[in-house]
Structure formats: structure tokens, C-alpha cells
């Protein structure tokens, strides 16, 4: 794939006319997807695809586009030339863009990570027998993911990575569920079977008779998987500098009214794990770490070069949408072994579901509890709870009601596949809350 990208890049860049600036982005994947229901194969298939993005700038105007690539150089060069012709015809008709960013980065990088993945045809045979009689539903995704960036100033980046993930739910006959994700780069059958066996053991806890709790405010522990869902919300009307400037951010209160969260809450964009490349669509390389919230205070935001130009601030080379690519929350001091005792009596939430801002500016999030969620009394799990709706503000549950943060960090891989297989992961601990509002 890199050869194809390089060949097209080298050819197209030599065909640019005077005054034209061009950035090109490459994205592709060679993936197997095996969908499982009741520990059987529901759907199975492969997807091979690649796209080439264009960012053409001429006389202060910008037009962008993307095309599918076939993998055949001659065919794809024809398509690329056709797209460049279309962009040239369009860009002269567009209004001037005062905040456009010239693709001037000259940085280069090359990062290929090879794994050991099973053949697609072998996947049902290695996954399903270990499931035995358990009711398991989920999705296996594996294969290679590619990202590339090049520009007319000579900047060039390439990133390719092999990975697999089995994201699954185990379900009891009474419809209680446990969620888990087994992910990595090198397949290990023994490790997989041990991981799955551990999940099945956890499922047995769910066979206790469920307890129905009433709406109200409860002492609550949210495990790392649930915390990662909360942190994801900061990519949508959160840490984006443009969103704050345009009054579309939950953090506007922190910027404009000096409101603070708990000192226990620190949050960074941290690429040090290497899950996702540091270069953005313009080929700009972000710092390895950017502090966003430090001990409850707004320490920074994600600033794209476009936003930097508009508002006269410094870019930290965020993506154009200023969403997080490598979120990481700092650990605290609560030992995993002390979670239940410290919680005492309250609810233990392993996962959350379907979060949305119920009042973005007020920082209020609603969503559901899901999967292994328990009622705990005097430090002991008593019963799984029926799913509850919550509706609470980050200024409360990440503010005065944040009592403790676990010392252990968990890696929560993003298994999303809407725009192709995601590469990122959220690194975070669990959180203990003095009070959390369950509403329905």
C-alpha cells in the first residue's frame, strides 16, 4: 500500500501548477470481520479498501476531496488526476478562506508495526470452540490498517499497524451481561482462552437475583470502561479550542467563569502509548503530551493550526476537528483491592451506555448503566442491579463528588469501525463518587 501511495504522491506533486499547494492523505485497511451471536457465526467477511484525500489550496481558497483507490497504480493515477482536475475547477469559484492552513510541514516519519494474526479462514475455528455453551455475542476484527500523509512541501508520514480485537458480551439466561475486549497484535491462543475463561467466571456473579433500585443519588464506583465513555464526551463539545471559542463546549465555564473540577482529575492527550500516529491530516506532528485538565484546572485545549490562525493562539497540531486522538486520565491512589470496601454501600458500574449531553453548556451528561453493575453493601457485592438512567453534571461528579481515583490504569481500545477500524485507545482509571444521580 505504501508503494502505491508513494507512487501517486510523487507523480501528482510534480504536476502541480504555480501557486498550488496540495496535501494528500491516505487511509486504508485490509480487515476481517466475524460477527458472532450465541457463540455461532452470524456474518463473516473481508473488506479491502483504500482512500486518497486531497487538500488543494490556491490563491487563498481551499477545496478538498477524496476518492476510492483500486490498488492498481495506472487506474488510481487516472482517478487522482481526475480529482485534481475537479478540485482545480472548483477552488477558483470558492470564497477566500482567511483561516486556511498551507500544508507547509516538512516533517517525515515512518512507522510500521507487524503482528502475528490468524488467517481469516481460521478465525471461526480458533474462536468459537473455546466459548463452549456460553451465550456470547460480539465482533472479531483483524488485519492491517494504513494511514499516510504527504504534502507539496515535502512532508511525508506513513503508519501501518496489524491488530486484532474480539469485543464481546456474555449473557446469562436471565439476560444479565458481562462485557470484555480481548485485543492485541500477536495472537496467543492460550492467552485468549484464559481471558475468555475469566470473563465466564465473572458472568457467574451475574446469576445472583437482580435488585431493583430507586432513582436517587448514590455512592458510586465507575470502572475504567465506563470512565472511558465519559472521557469520550470531551471530544464532542469539550476540549476543542474552537468549540470553547464558539460557545459550544462543556468547558466554557472553566475558561470563562474559572470553575474548577476536582483536584483528583487530570487529563491529557498522550501519544506515548504509540497506538495512534501523532501526525494529523496536514502532516503536522502533535506534542507527545498535551495537558488538558491538570488537577481540576483547565490547563490546555486541543488547538488546530486553523483555529490558532483564527484566534491568534498557538497550535498544538490537533486534528482539524480538535477531537482527542490519545486520551489519558491520570491515576490516583485507590487500590483495586480497596474499591468495594471504600465504596461501602452503593452501586458499582462496570460500563455505561449511550451517553449524550443533556445540557452541554452546563456539563450535564445523561446515559445508561449497562452490563455488570452491582448493588454493594458494606463492601460486598449483593446483587446485580437493573439498568438505570443517570443524568449528572461533570462539574458535580468530576468535581466536588469525585472522592477517589484508582491507582491502576486500564487500556480501553477503541473498537469502532464507522470510518474504518479505529486505532486509538483511552487510558484511564476507575473513579469513586460520593454521589451520582440515577434518574429513571
Amino acid at each position: 500500500m505504501e508503494k502505491l501511495f508513494k507512487q501517486i504522491n510523487q507523480t501528482i506533486m510534480t504536476e502541480l501548477r504555480e501557486g498550488e499547494y496540495l496535501g494528500m492523505g491516505f487511509g486504508g485497511e485490509q480487515s476481517n470481520f466475524t460477527r458472532i451471536n450465541a457463540a455461532k457465526v452470524r456474518q463473516i467477511g473481508n473488506v479491502d479498501e483504500a482512500d486518497l484525500g486531497f487538500n488543494l489550496i490556491l490563491n487563498g481558497r481551499r477545496s478538498t476531496g477524496s476518492i476510492s483507490l483500486s490498488g492498481d497504480f495506472d487506474e488510481d493515477l487516472t482517478r487522482a488526476r481526475g480529482e485534481l482536475t475537479r478540485l482545480r475547477a472548483e477552488v477558483v469559484q470558492l470564497p477566500e478562506d482567511p483561516y486556511l492552513v498551507l500544508p507547509e510541514s516538512t516533517e517525515t516519519s515512518h512507522n510500521e508495526m507487524h503482528g502475528n494474526l490468524p488467517d481469516a479462514e481460521a478465525i471461526p475455528g480458533i474462536l468459537l470452540p473455546a466459548m463452549g455453551e456460553v451465550d456470547l455475542t460480539g465482533i472479531w476484527a483483524s488485519g492491517r490498517v494504513f494511514q499516510g500523509s504527504a504534502n507539496s512541501s515535502g512532508g511525508y508520514h506513513w503508519f501501518a499497524s496489524d491488530s486484532f480485537s474480539l469485543d464481546y458480551s456474555l449473557i446469562t439466561p436471565s439476560e444479565k451481561m458481562v462485557k470484555a475486549t480481548y485485543a492485541g497484535t500477536d495472537w496467543d491462543q492460550t492467552a485468549y482462552e484464559a481471558f475468555l475463561a475469566d470473563s465466564i467466571t465473572k458472568l457467574k456473579l451475574m446469576s445472583l437475583p437482580p435488585k431493583k433500585i430507586k432513582p436517587g443519588d448514590y455512592r458510586t464506583f465507575i470502572a475504567a470502561a465506563g470512565v472511558s465513555d465519559v472521557l469520550s464526551m470531551f471530544s464532542w463539545g469539550g476540549v476543542s479550542e474552537a468549540a470553547i471559542r464558539q460557545s459550544e463546549s462543556c468547558l466554557g465555564k472553566m475558561r470563562n467563569e474559572n470553575v474548577k473540577l476536582s483536584q483528583l482529575f487530570s487529563f491529557t492527550e498522550d501519544f506515548s502509548s504509540g497506538f495512534t500516529p501523532r501526525f494529523n491530516g496536514n502532516g503536522e506532528v502533535a506534542p507527545e503530551q498535551t495537558s488538558l485538565i491538570n488537577q481540576g484546572e483547565l490547563a490546555g485545549t486541543l488547538v488546530s493550526t486553523r483555529t490558532a490562525k483564527e484566534y491568534g493562539v498557538e497550535s498544538n497540531f490537533a486534528s482539524e476537528g480538535e477531537g482527542m486522538r490519545a486520551p489519558a486520565m491520570a491515576a490516583g491512589s485507590l487500590k483495586e483491592s480497596d474499591i468495594l470496601n471504600t465504596l461501602g454501600t452503593g452501586v458499582y458500574l462496570s460500563n455505561l451506555h449511550y451517553l449524550n449531553w443533556s445540557d452541554m453548556i452546563g456539563g450535564r451528561i445523561t446515559g445508561m448503566t449497562r452490563y455488570a453493575c452491582f448493588w454493594v453493601e458494606d463492601g460486598k457485592i449483593v446483587a446485580p442491579i437493573e439498568n438505570m438512567r443517570f443524568d449528572d453534571s461533570i462539574y458535580s461528579f468530576l468535581g466536588e463528588n469525585l472522592e477517589a481515583v484508582t491507582e491502576k490504569l486500564h487500556i480501553n481500545p477503541d473498537v469502532g469501525t464507522y470510518d474504518g477500524r479505529e486505532l486509538s485507545a483511552i487510558v484511564c482509571p476507575g473513579i469513586l463518587l460520593k454521589s451520582f444521580s440515577l434518574t429513571l
Partner: protein, 476 residues
């Protein structure tokens, strides 16, 4: 490309093979505060090769469009199906892919290329100017999205379906700010005005008039009272009913969800297979139809991606659940009557059960009669927040704009209106249903579901609705 020729040349051993070529060009233009933010076009094309071997379907989506590439994809799909057939959830026959021959072209008056990029940009710039009705409007956005799609499906059983679409979505929004209060108003919810239509949607006079109203309502909300808290009557505008139907009816009736396929992602359903024909889903006023032929509605088509011909069907009649949202695979698995809704988001995804046009049929009440019947309640319009549980039971939705209803009259404007309820009791509380004069058609490009994930377009139409005794509340 000649799909027939490619299909006839494919040499694999399969009980059935189908090729679905999709080419889709998505244009998107966004202007913020009079300045261009995005002028982009995404052009995607590829072929989904599907085979049936030993009762198991398998697929290979490839962007390689030549004969050797598709032959190789078919061979790999056969190997996958063969390997997976030892572990099949269900053994399908060729009846899962009915023979389909036909075509569809979406209706439009003005072709996509009738507006030049410059002309459309100019209109969007004017729109942002109209949205800024005062200095308190701090951010204005105008966006236009056009999608041109060609789909050609051929299969070894003789199926041959050509479908072409032109789809247009637009939205205009204003954010107003004063002191510590910020409020946003859009054109009926983000991209709710999504249609199978042409560039006639961008009639300048109509667009600019709407923008002035949107800007004015954003400013009006700055000084509005907080929505009251309490249990009271709720009148929902059709642009919010779109979301209400989608989340608390549509997803719950998807047969693949009921069969458990989505339990690891979107979730399950409170509806069970034995509820069909028995469950009183809502009040007798409730008639829900799957209707693929509503003029200009966003998800109209003639055949689904499995080759089933699309027909109008009642899913809920006089409140009684009678039919599910399931294509042939789900119908064969469940034994439940379904509809032609086996759809894929593009060439690179396999079809699953999706909503298409799912509508609440109009009733007989006028808007005036409905408002007059309410002693104390809130009217809400334009969705801004949505969340529902994995069984499609406990939901909480929020709107952009509300009006108090007091003693049969619309009175004060209220901000941050929200409500929460449980699906069946909520629908059973449907007390009055607006007539055809109140009936409006909407759609959204953004329905997410499936593993691997798929975003697909759906359409929803509804009259004005009155629900009694709903838990209503305001903002933070």
C-alpha cells in the same frame, strides 16, 4: 463497469453469488460566520461480493473493480463461507435472496449541478448573515450536504436492480450568548431537513426567511424561563417526533436486534418474538407504517440490498404490534412477518435490518384542538439531546425550544426542555394525534448500528402529538 459480464465470468462453487456495486459522491459545504469552513466531496466506489455456501453467507468488499479483482474476492468469500459453515448461527437457503428485477430513481426538480460551488457558497454566506439577527448571536453556521448514489445489484439467480438517488440535507444554526447563558437553535434539529430531492431545497427566499426565524428564536431563548419540572402533558412537534419514533419504535422493532445480533453493541429489545400480534404497543391512535414510497422522503427505494421488493406495511395498527422490521434473513430466522429493510450503508458493509421510512400516520385533531385540550403542559420542538437504554425502554430526550401551555393556550417560551419516560407506557399515553395539516416529513443521515459499524439514512414523518402525564424538566 459491466457487472453482468463480470458475474458471468466468475468461477467459484457457490449456491448463490451476488455483486453489489455502489458509487456515492457526498458533497459537503459549511460556512461559519460568513467564512468558508468546508468545501469537500467524498467519492467512494466498490463492489460487495456475497456468496452462499453450505448455508452460510460470506462477503468480500473490494475497491478493486476489475474482473481479476472480483474473481479473487469471490474465491476468498467462498473460503470464508466454507470455513464458517461449520459454526453457522442459521443455515440459509437461496430463498434468503429473492429474485429482483427493477429500478428506482429518486425524484427531484433541480439537478445537483444546477448550482455551481460558488453559487451555493454565496447562498450559505447570505444565510449566516441572516442568522445573525443581533450582536448576541455569537456563532452562525449554514451547511449543505448533497449525496448522489448509484447502486447496481446483480446475482446468480437473475436479480438485476438499478437504483439511483439524489439526496439533499441542509441546516442553519445560530448560537446566542449573553452573560452566562448560551442557547442554540437549528432548522428543526441537526440535518433533520434531509430529503430525496434536488437543489430546489435551496430556494433563497425560503432559506433566508427560515434563517431570520432561527436567529430570532436563539436570542429569544436567552431570556426565556427554565423549562418547569413536573409531570404534565407534552406536545411534541413532528421534528422531535422523528427522534421519538426512531429510538422508541424503530430500533425496538428491528428483528435482528430481537434475535440478539446487536446485544454487544446497539443492544437488545424489550420486544420479543411472541409479542407480534399481541403487544399493545401504544394507544389506539398509534399507526406506524414502513412506507418506502413517500414523495421526497429520505429513505425511499424500490428494493432492499437483499433483493426484496419494498412495499408499504403497517407495523403497528391501532396500537397493536403486528409486524417487524426485518428483511428476508430475519424473517427466515424468526418466522415473523417483516419488510424490505435489509440494507447496507455502502459497498463495504453487509446488509442488516435497518429502518427506512418509518412513519406515524396522521390522526384527526387540529393543532388548535390539541393545544386547547391542555390545562398544563409544554410544547417542545427540535431535538438536541437523545439517549435510550439498550432494550429501548428508558429514554431521555431534550429539545431546543419549548413553550408553556397554560389553560389551553401557548404562553411563555421556555429553554432547555427535556422529558424522560419508558417506551410502552409513553406510547400508550398518546392522547391526541394531529391531522394531515400537522404532518411533516423529516430524515437523518446519521443512524448508527451494526458490527462492523454502519451509518445509514432514514426518514421519519409524523403529525403533532399530545402525550399525557410525562416527566418533564429543565437544564442544569
Amino acid at each position: 463497469m459491466d457487472l453482468h459480464q463480470i458475474l458471468s465470468g466468475i468461477d467459484v462453487r457457490a449456491d448463490w453469488i451476488g455483486l453489489r456495486y455502489v458509487k456515492e459522491n457526498t458533497g459537503f459545504r459549511l460556512v461559519r460566520d460568513g467564512k468558508p469552513e468546508a468545501n469537500t466531496r467524498e467519492s467512494k466506489q466498490g463492489v460487495m461480493v456475497e456468496v452462499l455456501v453450505n448455508g452460510q453467507f460470506a462477503y468480500y468488499g473490494t475497491s478493486r473493480l476489475d474482473k481479476p479483482g472480483i474473481q479473487a474476492a469471490a474465491e476468498r468469500a467462498v473460503k470464508l463461507a466454507t470455513a464458517a459453515s461449520k459454526f453457522s448461527l442459521h443455515s440459509f437457503g437461496v430463498d434468503a435472496r429473492p429474485v429482483a428485477k427493477g429500478s428506482y430513481s429518486s425524484p427531484y426538480q433541480t439537478a445537483a449541478d444546477a448550482f455551481s460551488p460558488g453559487e451555493l457558497s454565496d447562498l450559505l454566506i447570505k444565510a449566516t448573515a441572516e442568522l445573525k439577527v443581533s450582536d448576541k448571536v455569537v456563532t452562525t453556521n449554514a451547511m449543505a450536504r448533497t449525496v448522489e448514489t448509484e447502486s447496481h445489484f446483480v446475482a446468480s439467480n437473475g436479480s438485476d436492480v438499478d437504483q439511483k438517488y439524489l439526496m439533499v440535507s441542509a441546516d442553519y444554526s445560530a448560537i446566542a450568548h449573553d452573560g452566562s447563558v448560551t442557547q442554540k437553535r437549528t432548522d428543526g434539529g441537526l440535518l433533520a431537513k434531509s430529503y430525496q430531492a434536488g437543489m430546489e431545497v435551496f430556494d433563497e427566499a425560503a432559506v433566508l426567511a427560515r434563517c431570520r426565524n432561527i436567529g430570532a428564536e436563539a436570542v429569544e431563548l436567552l431570556t426565556a424561563e427554565e423549562c418547569p419540572t413536573g409531570t404534565m402533558d407534552l406536545v411534541l412537534a413532528p421534528d422531535q417526533m422523528m427522534l421519538q419514533i426512531h429510538e422508541s419504535v424503530g430500533h425496538a422493532l428491528e428483528i435482528d436486534r430481537i434475535l440478539g445480533d446487536e446485544r454487544n453493541y446497539a443492544g437488545w429489545s424489550f420486544v420479543r418474538l411472541d409479542d407480534f400480534g399481541k403487544l399493545q404497543y401504544g394507544s389506539p391512535l398509534m399507526n406506524i407504517t414502513f412506507d418506502p414510497y413517500v414523495e421526497n422522503q429520505f429513505a425511499s427505494y424500490a428494493y432492499d440490498d437483499g433483493g426484496l421488493k419494498a412495499e408499504k406495511e403497517f407495523l403497528i395498527k391501532e396500537g397493536l404490534l403486528i409486524r417487524g422490521l426485518g428483511g428476508m434473513e430475519s424473517q427466515l430466522r424468526s418466522g415473523i412477518n417483516g419488510v424490505a429493510n435489509f440494507r447496507a450503508s455502502s459497498w463495504n458493509r453487509a446488509p442488516i435490518d435497518r429502518m427506512a421510512n418509518l412513519n406515524l400516520e396522521p390522526g384527526t385533531s387540529t393543532q388548535a384542538e390539541m393545544i386547547a385540550s391542555v390545562e398544563k403542559g409544554v410544547f417542545m420542538t427540535s431535538n438536541r439531546s437523545w439517549s435510550i437504554d439498550d432494550y429501548r425502554n428508558k429514554f431521555q430526550f431534550g429539545c431546543e425550544y419549548g413553550k408553556l401551555i397554560e389553560n389551553g393556550k401557548l404562553t411563555k417560551t421556555v429553554k432547555n426542555p427535556n422529558y424522560r419516560a419508558i417506551s410502552n407506557p409513553f406510547w400508550r399515553s398518546l392522547k391526541m394525534l394531529g391531522n394531515r395539516d400537522t404532518f411533516e416529513v423529516y430524515g437523518t443521515p446519521f443512524c448508527g448500528k451494526g458490527e462492523p459499524n454502519q451509518i445509514i439514512r432514514v426518514g421519519h414523518a409524523s403529525p403533532l402529538c399530545l402525550f399525557e402525564g410525562v416527566e418533564i424538566f429543565g437544564g442544569a
